[in-house]
């Protein structure tokens, strides 16, 4: 099912909407946000100079640093009295980034999330358990309002107390799970430890995952846990842009459809800032077309993806962004090689002798980088034979060398010894920065 007619417009129609909205939003930020006006004046640009969509390239970028510099409300384009809600990012380093919504913004948000929930298989009959942390984080309330908008029933379970989560799931007949991919996996583990069979004792049909990167092997792992019939799609967004609702996968699983009547997506070279041709991989840059409270122009997401404009088999014509292959700031440089944790994860999840959880540690000894990966032995691989365990390590080292061109130290540990995460997973420790 396709929720909105805006998802199936011709390229020409989409671009006409985008240009009209872009001209209005640029004029509005120029008038209402001194920070934007100064940036545009500095390069001698006026709102009238935006004559075509191509002119977007001339506008300056907005970055996370800009949001910090204008903390808390410096980039807002409406008076505080117009605000209906405030959210903020976790802000693990420094001040959080603060975003606001007018009543209309909240409606657009619900609409955007409704579209991607429906494209991921959600229906009004679903009982949706939301295992994102409620609070300042946009994930939980974003999915909450979007799913409510399509008429589904919401269980605002939040995170934590996994046994209770499983109890709700079983007793309330949860059919749709909203969680980070790692927490979805964790819940499956807990259900199994509680003596349940997630495939037969739970009624789960759909999982809408987000807020951290999901790799294909992780999706496969989820289907293995909850049963092959489980439809797992991921969706994309970030609080700066709106929260969840920027894009999402349809059940064809060939990238995430961008809500193009509300956002313009571009891909740039993260080093030079130049726009890249369609199909090339680079940093995603997003312009918010429909937000009144804080309409960011050319926001640098630091997420790495590429854009695909070919229409999708599902019938939608909106551009798709490839599932993320990492973040520009997650990228590790080890012995001069660019390494994304997602590449390591892919190798680990393709090695059946070990479990899906891991930790990456990078050290520097005698001016040499050392990559150590802690993994758990899968319960089924337990053996009384040292040689068999060494073989698992050698196999893993070999696959990592093929993927990364680097040698890693593998630390094999017992099942359930590595830390489990309920929110965003923190799996990389870079001791070189200390």
């Amino acid at each position: 099912m396709i929720w909105a007619k805006e998802e199936t417009l011709s390229r020409q129609e989409i671009e006409a909407i985008q240009l009209d909205k872009l001209q209005k939003v640029v004029a509005r930020v120029y008038e209402k946000v001194p920070y934007y006006r100064e940036k545009m004046d500095a390069i001698g640009m006026k709102p009238e100079d935006v004559k075509t969509l191509d002119d977007l390239k001339k506008l300056p970028f907005t970055t996370k640093q800009d949001m910090r510099d204008t903390y808390p409300f410096g980039l807002f384009a409406v008076d505080k009295s117009e605000l209906a809600r405030i959210h903020a990012s976790s802000g693990t380093t420094g001040k959080p980034t603060v975003v606001g919504y007018t009543k209309k913004d909240l409606d657009v948000w619900s609409e955007c999330v409704a579209r991607l929930a429906v494209m991921g298989g959600a229906t009004k009959e679903d009982v949706c358990q939301i295992c994102f942390g409620y609070g300042m984080f946009t994930g939980a309330l974003g999915l909450h309002n979007g799913l409510e908008h399509i008429g589904a029933c919401i269980i605002p379970a939040s995170t934590g107390n996994s046994e209770k989560q499983i109890m709700y799931m079983k007793d309330f007949g949860t059919t749709l799970l909203v969680a980070t991919p790692s927490y979805a996996l964790r819940l499956g583990e807990v259900a199994t430890q509680m003596g349940l069979n997630p495939q037969t004792d739970l009624a789960l049909k759909t999982a809408l995952v987000g807020s951290e990167l999901m790799t294909e092997p992780m999706r496969a792992e989820m289907k293995k846990l909850y049963g092959d019939k489980l439809v797992v799609t991921q969706n994309y967004g970030m609080s700066e842009l709106m929260g969840p609702g920027v894009s999402g996968e349809c059940t064809e699983l060939c990238g995430m459809h961008v809500n193009e009547d509300h956002f313009i997506a571009e891909v740039i070279d993260p080093v030079t800032g130049e726009n890249l041709p369609a199909g090339e991989k680079g940093e995603l840059v997003v312009t918010c077309l429909s937000k009144d409270a804080i309409p960011l122009i050319r926001y640098r997401t630091r997420d790495i993806t590429r854009l695909m404009y070919e229409p999708c088999k599902c019938g939608r014509t909106t551009v798709r962004m490839e599932n993320l292959s990492g973040r520009t700031d997650d990228m590790l440089k080890i012995k001069g090689v660019n390494v994304f944790p997602s590449q390591i994860e892919e190798v680990l999840l393709n090695t059946e002798e070990i479990g899906p959880h891991y930790e990456i540690i990078v050290d520097r000894k005698n001016h040499t980088d050392i990559l150590t990966i802690r993994v758990e032995l899968a319960p089924a691989s337990m053996t009384d034979d040292y040689k068999a365990l060494e073989k698992i390590k050698l196999k893993l080292r070999g696959s990592l060398r093929t993927m990364l061109g680097l040698d890693a130290i593998i630390n094999l540990e017992s099942p359930n010894t590595l830390q489990r995460f309920e929110g965003k997973a923190k799996r990389v420790t870079d001791n070189r920065k200390k």
């Binding site: 032995l377 319960p379 337990m382 053996t383 009384d384 365990l389 630390n411 094999l412 017992s414 099942p415």
Partner: protein, 138 residues
């Protein structure tokens, strides 16, 4: 006879955790073997109730399993281990590992070979094989 094998990573307190679980479940450790490997090791034990021990450890999140091994009583004099190893090698049976087990005034060993059944048949002609029920109750 069953040996209990537990996978433990080389971290302070891991051995204590295993032995704590066993003692709380009134399981007696008859003998034990642990090598000084670097990151992880396999704790091999003969215990009074192997199946129950394996279950409680697995339920506590450890990787544990039961392996077939043989306990052999060896006379306490020169050359008895030599004779035993010669018996196995001349019949092309590999010794995977072995460790000692006390048995009153006599010496005894726990042995894992490439072919436990054949090894037991050969050994039993020359030596006394200690039965599971006897060892578990030592």
């Amino acid at each position: 006879m069953k040996q209990l094998t537990v996978f433990i990573e080389n971290r302070m307190g891991r051995l204590e955790e295993v032995t704590d679980i066993l003692s709380k479940n009134n399981i007696n450790i008859i003998c034990i073997s642990l090598a000084d490997t670097s990151e992880y090791g396999m704790l091999r034990m003969i215990v009074s109730q192997p199946a129950a021990a394996c279950e409680v450890l697995c339920n506590s999140g450890f990787s544990a399993l039961l392996t077939d091994v043989t306990a052999v009583k060896l006379p306490h004099h020169f050359g008895s281990l030599k004779k035993l190893s010669g018996l196995l090698s001349s019949n092309s049976i590999d010794i995977s590992y072995m460790y000692a087990l006390t048995s009153g005034d006599d010496a005894a060993i726990v042995i894992k070979t490439s072919d436990n059944e054949k090894a037991e048949a050969l050994i039993s002609e020359e030596y006394e094989i200690l039965g599971a029920s006897k060892v578990y109750n030592m």
